[in-house]
Symmetry: C2
Subunit: 342 residues, 2 copies
C-alpha cells in the first residue's frame, strides 16, 4: 500500500504552537515577543526569534485580528462617483505618501471606493472589524460618510478640508495662500486682465484656492469676474478656457487651479494662436509630474501631496496609538515654482 501524499490545503508555515515548542517556551511568550511586549527575558526573546526564522513563521493575520480586536489595517476611501480621482496625480501622490508612512509599521492598506449609492454598505463594511481607521480623500459637498463613520466610532482623517461644519480631523494644503500667491505673481508680472479656471464648487479645495486668488486680485484692485469652473480633468480645463476666452478675449493671464486642467487650457491657448507666456501668462497648481513637461513648462503653485498623504497617515496612526493632544487639523505650506508659462 502506497502512502498517500497529503494534499489538503494546509497553510504553508507553522503556527504559533510550533514556534513555542521549538523555542522551548509557551505560546504566550511567543505572542509577547511578536508583539514586542515587555516581561520577556532576553534569552527567551532570542530563542523565539531563532525559532521564527527557522520555521519561516508568519502569524496569521485573521487570528490576530479576531483575538486582538484590531485589524492592523487602515482603509483609504476614495469618494468619487466614477473613481475618476484615481487618474489624478494628486491621488497617486497621496497614495505614495500613505504607503511610505505605513512601511515598517505592520499595517496594511485597504483601498475602497465610495459611491454615494452604497455609502451604507461601505459604513457597514468599515464597521465590521476590517480596519482600525480610515483615510478619506476627495470628499464632495457635505459627505454623509463623515458623520456616519463618526457615529460608529471609527477613527478618521480627511484629506482636503471637508465642506460644512463637521469637526473631523483633516490635513490639507494651504490652498488659500496658494491661490493668493498665484494671483500676486500674475499681478507682479504686470498683468491686468486676469482670469481663473477654478475647481469644482462643491469642494473646499476649489473654494479655498479661488478665494485666495480673488483676495490677491483685490489687493491690486483688479476685477475678479473672470471665473470658470472645471472638475480637475484636462477636458474640463479645455472647456473652461474656451469659455473664458469667449467672455474676455482680452485676458492676459489665467490661474488654473490644477496642473491637470492647465494642460487642457494650454492646448486651447495654443490652438487659438495665443503665445504663452507672451500673450497669456498661465499658472497652475500642484506642481504635478506634467507641470515641468508641459508645453511650455508650467509655472505653478507647488503642494507636496506625498507629504499630505504621509501626514494624514501619521495623524491617524497617532490617534490609533492613543496619543493625546493631537492637532485636530493641519495645513501644509505651498510654494511658487516659476518656470516658463508665467
Amino acid at each position: 500500500m502506497t502512502v498517500m501524499t497529503e494534499t489538503a490545503k494546509r497553510r504553508p508555515g507553522a503556527r504559533i504552537e510550533e514556534v513555542a515548542r521549538v523555542a522551548g517556551v509557551s505560546k504566550s511568550t511567543v505572542s509577547r515577543v511578536i508583539n514586542d511586549e515587555q516581561y520577556v527575558s532576553a534569552k527567551a526573546r532570542e530563542a523565539v526569534h531563532a525559532a521564527i526564522a527557522q520555521l519561516g513563521y508568519a502569524p496569521n493575520q485573521a487570528a490576530r485580528a479576531l483575538a486582538g480586536h484590531r485589524a492592523n489595517a487602515i482603509a483609504l476611501v476614495v469618494s468619487e462617483p466614477s473613481g475618476r480621482v484615481l487618474s489624478d496625480p494628486f491621488f497617486a501622490g497621496v497614495l505614495r505618501g500613505v504607503h511610505r508612512e505605513l512601511t515598517g509599521r505592520h499595517m496594511q492598506l485597504l483601498l475602497m471606493m465610495s459611491q454615494p449609492s452604497d455609502t451604507e454598505d461601505l459604513v457597514t463594511y468599515l464597521s465590521s472589524g476590517h480596519v482600525d481607521g480610515a483615510l478619506l480623500v476627495s470628499l464632495h459637498g457635505e459627505d454623509p460618510l463623515v458623520p456616519m463613520l463618526n457615529e460608529i466610532g471609527l477613527p478618521v482623517v480627511v484629506g482636503g478640508r471637508p465642506l460644512g461644519k463637521t469637526s473631523v480631523p483633516f490635513v490639507d494644503a494651504d490652498n488659500f495662500t496658494g491661490g493668493l500667491d498665484a494671483a500676486r505673481h500674475l499681478v507682479s508680472l504686470g498683468r491686468k486682465r486676469i482670469a481663473t479656471v477654478a475647481g469644482p464648487k462643491d469642494m473646499a479645495v476649489g473654494a479655498d484656492r479661488l478665494n485666495g486668488f480673488k483676495r490677491g486680485l483685490s489687493e491690486a484692485k483688479i476685477a475678479t469676474d473672470l471665473v470658470a469652473h472645471g472638475d480637475f480633468t484636462p477636458e474640463s480645463g479645455t472647456r473652461a478656457m474656451e469659455r473664458l476666452l469667449q467672455k474676455a478675449p482680452d485676458l492676459d493671464a489665467v490661474f488654473v487651479a490644477a496642473d491637470i486642467m492647465a494642460l487642457g487650457a494650454l492646448q486651447v491657448l495654443h490652438a487659438q494662436g495665443r503665445r504663452v507666456p507672451e500673450d497669456v501668462a498661465v499658472i497652475g497648481f500642484d506642481d504635478s509630474v506634467f507641470a515641468a513637461s508641459a508645453t511650455p513648462p508650467l509655472t505653478t503653485i507647488r503642494q507636496d501631496v506625498e507629504e499630505l498623504g504621509r501626514t494624514m497617515t501619521w495623524r491617524l496612526l497617532a490617534e490609533l496609538a492613543g496619543e493625546q493632544g493631537l492637532p485636530p487639523s493641519l495645513l501644509l505650506p505651498t510654494s511658487l515654482v516659476v518656470r516658463t508659462s508665467a
Copy 2:
C-alpha cells in the same frame, strides 16, 4: 465610589448569535444564508435576512477568514523601486478596472508595494492568510516574486507579460501589434527618418512595443537604428528626445512608447522649434488622459488599461473559484487613435 462608565471598545452591531436568536434559527443556518449555500428553506432564509436588516448585522471578516480559510481579499502588488508607477495613469487605469471588477463580489483590495529589498517579507506576508490571491503589476526583469509566490501556492495573475520563461498566467495588451501599427501609420504618412523613444529594456512592454515597431519599419525598408530608451516618466521622455535629435537632426517622425513620455518629447520638440506634426510627426502609446489634452493633441495607440485590470481580476477570481480550463494568458487588442500630432 463612582460607577465607571463602560468604555471598552465594543464592536458596534450584533454577532451572528444574536441574528440567529432574532431569526429563530441556529448560527449554522445564519451562516448558510450569509454564504448563499443550499439546504435552507425559503422561510428560514427570509427570517434571517429580516433579522440581519433589523440588527444592521455585518459579519466579522477576521472571524470568517479564520474559520473559513479564506480571506475574501486579493492583493495588488506594485513592484517598483520607488512606487513611481503610482503616478502613472496606466496604474490608475488598472486600479480602476480591478476595483470595478471587484465591486459586488465580497472582495477587498489590498495594496502592497514591493521593493527588491523586502521581497522576502512580502512573500511571508502574502502567505500569512491575508489574501486569497495576488495581482502583480509592473514587473521588472525576472522578478523572483513570481517563482516565490508560485512555491507557496498563492494564485497569481501578472499584468504585463513577464520577462523570462516562467509560466505564470498573465494579461497584457498586444504591445507588439501596437508598435507595429504605430510604425505603419508613420510610414503611411510618408515619413522616412523614423525614431523611437522606447520603454525600459528590462520590461516586456518595452521590448514588445519596440519589436513591433521595428518590424513595421522593416516592412517599409526603413532603418531601425534610432532608438533611445526611457523609463515611462516625462523627464526620461525629454532626455531621450534630446538624444535622438542630437543623433539625427533630420528625423521626421518619432514613436514614443508611452504618452507620458511623449509629453516630455513634445516639449523638447517645441523648444527646439520643430513643428508637430509638420516637421516631426509624433505618435504615443496608451491613449491616456493627457493624450487628448497635449499640445498638440496626440495621435496614439490606444490600450484599454481599465479592461486590463478587469481582465486580470476576472482571471484571478475565476481561478480562486476553481474554474477549469482557464486561458493561461490573454492579450488585449490595441487600436490607432489619430489626432493632430501624426
